[in-house]
Symmetry: C2
Subunit: 296 residues, 2 copies
C-alpha cells in the first residue's frame, strides 16, 4: 500500500493543469470537480465509447477514441499538462478493435502485445510509457479525501461466524486469482465459491450467483485489490449498484480491502447497506486472522 498515500494536493502550482483520462463511471467526474474546486486548471480526455463527456459540464474536455493515443499525448502537451489521472472503467478492446493512430501504433509497440496478457500488465506498461513521455501519473486518491474504505465495520450489522469463514475463503480465492492477474471479486456462500470474476464485472458476477445460491444463510461478496496491483489506476470500486445487486442476490454482506477498494459516496452506500440489512466491512487481507485455517 506504499504508493496509496500521495499528498492531498500534489504540487499544484508546479505541476500546471491536471490532465484526466476518463473512462466510465463517476470517479473521473469527482476527481475533475475536486481539482477544479481546489483551484486547479483541468483538461479532460474522455475515452469515446467508454466515458461520457456530459457530467463534466463546463470543464474543458475532448472525446477521443482509445486508439488515438498519439493525438492524446499531443493535446496534453499543447495544454501544458504534465500531471495525469487515469480514472474510470475502460473495458479492454481487442487489438483488432483498437485501430491505433500512427503514434498510437508506436506506443503500442513499446507497450508490447505481451501487455494484453493481463490487466495490470497493460496498465503498468501504459503508466511506464506515459512516464517515459514525461507525464506523472497520480492516483485519484490524491484529489479525493476519504476515497478508500477505512479498516473496520461500516454498518450496524456485522458478519457472523459463517460469514467470516466465507470472507476468509473469498480472500484466499480472490488473491489466488489476482496473482494470475485476473479478477478482483468472488461470491462465497457457506464455504462454497459460487462465482469468481473475470472481465464480466462485479455486478454481472453477483447477478449470476443469484441462481446458483443454496438454501440457508446467504453468501458474501469479497472485493479486493490484486496483489501487486498499482494503486494509481483501475482500483476496485463499490457503488450503489453493487449494494443493490448484492441485496437482490440474497447476499448478507460485502467485504472490501481497507485502504484499497474505492467506496464512492460512502455515506449513501453505507445507508443503502443498512437499509438492505447488509453488512459492509473493510478488511486487511494480510491480517493473519484473514487466513483460512488448515484442515483439522
Amino acid at each position: 500500500m506504499s504508493d496509496a498515500a500521495a499528498p492531498a494536493t500534489p504540487a499544484a502550482a508546479a505541476a500546471g493543469p491536471l490532465g484526466i483520462i476518463a473512462g466510465a463511471g463517476e470517479l473521473p467526474v469527482r476527481v475533475a470537480r475536486a481539482a477544479v474546486a481546489a483551484g486547479r486548471e483541468v483538461f479532460v480526455i474522455v475515452i469515446g465509447g467508454h466515458g461520457d463527456p456530459g457530467p463534466f459540464g463546463s470543464i474543458p474536455k475532448v472525446v477521443l477514441r482509445l486508439g488515438a493515443a498519439g493525438r492524446m499525448i499531443e493535446l496534453l502537451r499543447e495544454r501544458g499538462v504534465r500531471q495525469l489521472v487515469l480514472a474510470g472503467r475502460v473495458s479492454r478492446p481487442s487489438l483488432f478493435a483498437l485501430r491505433p493512430d500512427p503514434a498510437g501504433a508506436m506506443l503500442l509497440a513499446r507497450i508490447g502485445a505481451k501487455a494484453f496478457g493481463g490487466d495490470d500488465t497493460l496498465l503498468s506498461a501504459v503508466i511506464r510509457v506515459l512516464a517515459e513521455e514525461g507525464f506523472e501519473v497520480v492516483g485519484a486518491q490524491a484529489f479525493l479525501d476519504d476515497l478508500f474504505a477505512p479498516p473496520g465495520l461500516m454498518t450496524k450489522r456485522a458478519p457472523d461466524e459463517q460469514a467470516m469463514a466465507d470472507i476468509r475463503r473469498g480472500v484466499a480465492v480472490v488473491r489466488a486469482l489476482g496473482a494470475a492477474d485476473v479478477g478482483q471479486a468472488a461470491v462465497v456462500q457457506q464455504g462454497l465459491v459460487l462465482g469468481v470474476e473475470a472481465i464480466e464485472g462485479t455486478d454481472a458476477l453477483i447477478r449470476r450467483c443469484r441462481d446458483l445460491a443454496r438454501e440457508g444463510a446467504g453468501g458474501v461478496l469479497v472485493k479486493l485489490v490484486k496483489p501487486g496491483q498499482s494503486r494509481l489506476v483501475d482500483l476496485p470500486t463499490v457503488g450503489l449498484a453493487t449494494v443493490e445487486e448484492a441485496a437482490m442476490a440474497g447476499l448478507r454482506g460485502i467485504a472490501v480491502e481497507a485502504g484499497g477498494t474505492i467506496i464512492l459516496d460512502r455515506p449513501a452506500i453505507v445507508a443503502a447497506a443498512e437499509e438492505a440489512g447488509l453488512f459492509l466491512t473493510a478488511i486487511d487481507p494480510e491480517d493473519p486472522a484473514m487466513k483460512e485455517t488448515t484442515a483439522p
Copy 2:
C-alpha cells in the same frame, strides 16, 4: 498422475460386487455396463435429485438421497460390496439441504464442516471416511479403457500461435484457481480472460463468454484437473454439449489435460469438433512449453 493407472480389471473375483454411487451424467452408466460386460456383479446407488436410475436398465439399483449416507453404507454392506466407484456429477448441497440421517450426521461430523471449504477437500474426506469404513474407492478409469484424452492433437485443425498463447494463459489461470480448490476451466481470447469457472459448470461458463467476446480471432476453452486433485472422483469431463457450446460461442478450440480430463465417447466428440471447425488438443500443464513467457 500416479494414482490414475489402476489395473483394468481390479481383482474382480476377490473384490465381490462392485458398488457404484451414481450422480448425473453418462459416466456412471458406462462404468456399470462395462463392469457387467466384464462379468462383474454390480449394485448401484443413485443419488436422488442428481442421478437418474432410468439408464441403468435391469442393473440392480436403489435411489437414495445424498443425506442418507448411513443407509447407503448399510445397503452396500448387506450386498457384500467392498469396492466402490463414485461417478457422475453431484452438485454440492448446502449443509441445510443435506438433512443427514443419524449415521449420516455422524459421518458428516467425521468429514468435518471444514470439508465444505472446497470440492477436493470434501471428496478427499469422503474417500477417507469410506476407507475407514472398509471400502476401497477405485476410479472409473479402472473399468473404462480410453477414458482419458491421450496427449496431442485430436483434430485436423491445430491451434495457431495466438491460440497457443491463449492456452498458456488459460493454464496459468486455471492452475492458480485450482490451487485454491475452485474451478477447472477458463475461457481466454487474445490474451484476455473472458471467464473462469466456479460452480456454474463449464457449459454455463462458455455461454456467458459468448456475450463477452471481442472482435477478431475467437477464444479457447482450457479445462484441466486441479493440482493435487484425486484422480478417483469428479474428474473434469468434456462431452458433446461442451463442443456444441464452444462452437456457438465462437471459440476456436478446446485444450484438455492429457491423462486427466475425461472425454466421453471420444470418436463422436472428435467428429463433432471437426464438423464445427474446432481444434481439440490434450496437453500436459507441467510441460515447460505450457508456461507463459515473462515480460519482454
